[in-house]
Point group: C2
Chain length 384, copies 2
């Protein structure tokens, strides 16, 4: 096992009827900005529950944070926060709203151009406190310090991390996910699955608990992901997916083990340049990464085949191929095709995409830092 | 899945060479009390590492905290803290030192008789901050708000909980466990195992991730527990046990599921009245609890048999018996006999012990709250 530090200060409030408890957790006298997306929270009753819970508080709202939140949109919220002297942000929605809210929290007190937080990795020295009501299990953003922000004008999709933007609390009520569109449910399951794989399918360091926790999350998503599509109001299915997605990216399963993240980094460019959903990009890129890196990942791929997919036999190549094929079929079962051609993209996109990856500085990806731009091209050709 | 809240603010600093980092985490200008036990930390080099790390701080020490920490001992430390105006406690040792330190932290600012925290469940309204260097993986105390304190004069062993006594940080360096006596290693593994079982072997609530996390901890302890006895300086084995023991009782696997704890409550009386090690009491009581409660626990016992012990077949009674027997053999393999008679105790101890259990108010134990004093007697007869 590798050395690690692990701290996760977010309070999780999980279950039916929990939105009302946010009032106990917001400092009295706060000036709160409620951030949200396209308005689905007004249709499913979440907005009204939040409004009721905020009775007695001074609060404002900022709507219209997009999937893949846009820098320009978020900077308008930054202006509103400064103008209204807001001191607490309450994100209501999915991972994109929350990622955007984290950026707002860091940008408000930032000295200089907040774009530098993303483009230059400028240090975040302070941030507004954040609370969250999560309505879409997927990104794990509700219990980590990660954020990804888009800038369409320059085709950028860039991440930042700061311990200062962990939500102070996150309300996870599985019933709020009953009315999600099928595509968002499926995307969320694929996203959580690939988050887990990025921290698991590397090379063995004899970290037995981390491996088994990761396998437990993957098996749960495999069992309950398809059921969430078939039985949208099955509470336990929704609860298992929601808790899995949080645990997939709250730092726990990645503590003390190598991490990959090549699939995410290549996938981000696919979203930025061609507008694919985040989960679609993962479904396309991951099987190709596993094929390309099969020697580096051999031992863990075999463990994954046996423990997660219950494949048997002693032919290692067959186990590895079987596990990659099972992964592909699972993504397709969740409505995410796994080839570039399924999205009307051909090999002509590869060179410009990898040029963008290089421009963003991602020239040494993967758990060994040995995936070069040439390797990224080979991966994308395998995904064609 | 049941509703839950989960928050764990402790920072874990895990791995070789991490003790030196405590200086970064202690507030400058603190007056620190280093608490420890019988002096093993002076033999294994941990005391010297702590001393080096504390260079520049004003610090004091309090030694002699016993296994099953004694109320009277701890009250002497409380006096020292008050006299020396100490404002930070640094626990160096195992779970008993840390449990004792938590009590000191709560007792110092307590108005009234601190015994009431244990005997009457008096509310802890403030506590001194605590840091910890853990040298014995077992209790999970390094990352929770639990403490158990003994008072020999009245044969009491009583727990308290407060969110205010979570350690702010916990250094877990597996190399500090290399020189532990065999009996302490074995006891720690059994303790962590039973902590996990108390939160897992109840009744199903379709909490798939929690179940798999618990199973992952149990399997790791089964694999690496005996290896820790055979290969005391195998780093990864020690690391897996240390991280498993923390995760077994940091609130995670118990979030959203029923919990039992009957084995612990009955076991505490065995320690208080007859001086058995905590883990010995668990090894004696758990198999008997599982036998007695086999109908209530049927579904989970079968899952435990199949997933943790890899037993197969369709005869449910055979699966359950097999799982209980495998548990018993594991405890015995770890050097903990599983019958009262193995500790020279016979059935005459049962009535006085259960009277004490009743006197402490534990008259409705288990996940259904239906284990009466009469049932506790039946359990102890099964353990004879």
């Amino acid at each position: 096992m590798e050395n690690f530090t692990f701290k996760n200060p977010t309070e999780i409030i999980f279950g039916k009827g929990q939105i009302q408890t946010i009032a106990e957790r917001l400092p009295k006298g706060s000036r709160i900005l409620v951030t949200y997306g396209g308005g689905s929270i007004k249709k499913n009753g979440v907005y009204d529950q939040v409004k009721t819970a905020l009775d007695g508080y001074t609060w404002f709202e900022f709507s219209g944070i997009e999937p893949n939140p846009e820098f320009d949109t978020l900077m308008r919220a930054v202006q509103q926060v400064r103008d209204e002297k807001i001191d607490y942000l309450l994100s209501v929605g999915g991972g994109s709203v929350l990622d955007g809210t984290k950026f707002i929290a860091a940008a408000v007190p930032f000295e200089g151009d907040p774009w530098d937080i993303l483009a230059k990795g400028a240090e975040v020295k302070q941030a507004l406190p954040i609370g969250c009501v999560l309505t879409l299990p997927a990104t794990g953003s509700e219990s980590n310090g990660n954020s990804v922000v888009n800038r369409r004008s320059s085709h950028d999709k860039l991440p930042f991390f700061s311990p200062l933007v962990y939500p102070q609390f996150a309300v996870l009520d599985p019933t709020t996910t009953y009315t999600l569109p099928r595509r968002q449910v499926a995307n969320g399951v694929v996203d959580a699955f690939v988050h887990t794989v990025e921290q698991y399918l590397t090379y063995p360091v004899d970290a037995k608990v981390q491996d088994r926790f990761a396998e437990g999350i993957l098996q749960t998503l495999i069992e309950d992901g398809p059921r969430a599509l078939e039985e949208p109001e099955n509470y336990d299915v929704r609860a298992n997916i929601m808790w899995s997605a949080t645990l997939a990216l709250n730092g726990l399963i990645g503590a003390g083990v190598p991490q990959d993240w090549a699939t995410h980094m290549i996938g981000h460019e696919l979203t930025a340049l061609h507008g694919l959903d985040h989960a679609q990009t993962l479904a396309v890129v991951l099987p190709a990464v596993l094929h390309k890196q099969r020697e580096h990942k051999r031992a863990k791929l075999i463990q994954y085949a046996r423990r997660v997919w219950q494949l048997s036999g002693t032919d290692e190549e067959a186990l590895i191929d079987g596990a990659i094929e099972a992964t592909r079929r699972f993504f397709e079962q969740m409505g995410n095709p796994t080839r570039l051609r399924d999205y009307d993209l051909d090999e002509t996109i590869i060179d410009p995409l990898v040029a963008q990856l290089e421009a963003h500085g991602f020239t040494a990806l993967g758990e060994h830092g040995d995936i070069t731009p040439a390797d990224a091209k080979a991966i994308l050709r395998l995904a064609a």
